[in-house]
């Protein structure tokens, strides 16, 4: 009798452990006390999970012709003003070193700028129907994690005789030295955010159709990514979509870039629109 009771008790535990997260057919952002920007935060346990199947981007050139990442598991939290998404996906290779013919792991969340009955085109929006994008990249994460912003971090055996900004006549850290450095880094002189060390591994952008991506001025973008045993787990934090409430849904789409498959820009795995619902605090 006792043995039977023990077996029953054990099986209950096993069942509850293997039950895993609640699965949803839409992405549901549940309330959290504070904005959550780390993948390991316990608050994520309260969020249901949506498994989004990924499709190849084969609508606009250059297209991705061969599928790579199959799916991304998504959870979402919100605290009124901000919304955080946690993306989990399988990726056997860590691609976080930029270089010629080398591409980087990355992910993005896309949400229409306005809550509309007819959402914009899921492929980067369309003219007059902008979308907001929050984008994370593995090399930016490495930079935030402390990788130095120099050529030896990318090529440990590189030997460089001399850079003009190292001339003896230029005092280290001086304005003249910075100016000399910038002469050979026009992207930096233009304020291109691809350059240099970063505070966050995430950037905010806007788009109104393929090829129109531009910096999302004034849009919040925070987050962090960690390498898991099987792939990446990345949190992307942005402002909660304007007009979204427990009564009104909007849309969300996701994209994953697999660096080892030379995925970059429009060569990516992506979803169509998925309903995004908000659960308010009780």
């Amino acid at each position: 009798m006792l043995r039977i009771a023990l077996v029953v008790a054990l099986s209950v535990v096993v069942t509850s452990c293997s039950r895993g997260p609640v699965m949803t057919t839409e992405v549901v952002a549940v309330p959290a006390q504070k904005p959550v920007a780390t993948p390991a935060d316990g608050a994520w346990d309260s969020a249901p999970e949506h498994v989004a199947k990924l499709l190849v981007q084969d609508l606009v050139e250059p297209r991705l012709m061969k599928p790579s990442t199959a799916e991304v598991r998504v959870r979402a939290l919100q605290n009124g003003g901000e919304m955080a998404f946690r993306l989990d996906w399988k990726d056997g290779t860590q691609n976080d070193l930029p270089g010629p013919a080398k591409f980087l792991d990355g992910c993005a969340v896309q949400i229409p700028e306005k809550v509309e009955v007819n959402p914009p085109d899921p492929q980067m929006g369309s003219a007059g129907h902008p979308v907001q994008i929050t984008f994370w990249r593995a090399d930016w994460q490495a930079s935030v994690n402390g990788r130095k912003d120099d050529i030896h971090s990318l090529y440990p055996n590189a030997s460089v005789d001399h850079y003009p900004f190292q001339a003896h006549s230029l005092e280290p850290g001086s304005a003249a030295q910075k100016e000399m450095m910038q002469r050979y880094a026009p992207a930096q002189a233009m304020g291109n955010r691809r350059v240099g060390p970063r505070e966050f591994p995430v950037e905010a952008m806007m788009a109104e159709g393929p090829g129109t991506l531009s910096p999302g001025a004034g849009l919040l973008a925070r987050g962090a990514g960690v390498r898991t045993k099987t792939g990446w787990q990345v949190v992307l934090v942005r402002k909660a979509p304007a007009g979204l409430s427990a009564k009104v849904r909007t849309q969300v789409a996701f994209a994953i870039w697999e660096g080892s498959a030379q995925e970059v820009g429009s060569r990516k795995m992506r979803t169509g629109w998925i309903p995004l619902a908000l659960r308010e605090a009780k």
Binding site: G99, Y184, A187, R194, L213
Partner: protein, 376 residues
Amino acid sequence: MARVNNWQLGREMSYWYPESRPQRQFAAVFDTNKCIACQTCTLACKTTWTSGRGQEYMLWNNVESKPYGFYPLAWDLKLLEMLNGGAWNGNKYEGQTIFESAPAGERVLGWRPEQQDYAYPNVGEDDCAGQVDKGAGMMSLPHMNWFFYLARICNHCTYPACLASCPRGSIYKRPEDGIVLVDQGRCRGYQECVKGCPYKKVFFNPMTGTSEKCIACYPKMEQGIQPQCFVNCIGKIRLAGYISKPGQERAENPIDYLVRIRKIALPLFPQFGLEPNVYYIPPIHVPLSFSRQLFGPGADEAVKAYRNAANDADLSSLLCLFGSSEQVMTRWSRQGDLVSGLDDKGSTLVRVPRNEPVFTRPAYDKLYQITRTNCP
């Protein structure tokens, strides 16, 4: 895809954007017969534009020994193979261009060099270990004992594949001079242009995260001064200027005269379909079958005309203007045995003799009663 006219192919072709020729088109003529591979041009460019972080491997100007030299490795062979050679019928190209043979999902037919493909510019390219009549002894390949130097910069193509490949429209062709530039503020480093440019003249900079390329020293060209690799050229092989629109060529424009009128300077791999604007006087000592593959069906006639240049007062005079002035000579004229380079307004910039006077210095100097030799 739009239908556009490519005069180098003798036919229309497909291109990603409609035909839109600039007001004038930056162009250059390189005389391969005079290049000594000193690489002064390479260094002039390197010190001026690519001495920064992430640019270490970049050579916007490079000089490679053909047929066995490449930068990056096998850049031309790979594409020729992908294009299946490409066939000419007289002066008409009947094969496919890289735009016409773009595979599904791509804007152009291209390939991406690996990092190590950039690692050995000019290493061992012209090490010829055999006897001239027996081929190089060190290789089992049919390595012929001839070679020549091919100096290469961006061709500032009329139909740039880099521009067509960029999904962001970050690459533009200046309407005023046809110079092709990457907008460094807009580029997101997708490297599509690196894949698309058949000449491999766009480079990804891992430190700035953007792609960078030859800018034809446009700040100098705007001042009427030729680019760094031109004015520093030891062999005086280069002449920069502007080529007129097809059908509007003028004999007084040195580039028009050499390219369109005398047809002595030819585009590099015209069969790719980009209408490149650096024109080469083909080497005269190289098998013509090879020159035809590189420079198209005009190679035979160009070599013939060049070989005859000594008897051709106009041609030999104009060739003397190469490397004679720092300034851009958009016009030229010959007065007997003198040739002048002029600017747009018709002012003379430089005047040089067609035949340099020759002095023979006797080995024994009677005045000082000493023997001079040229070598120590």
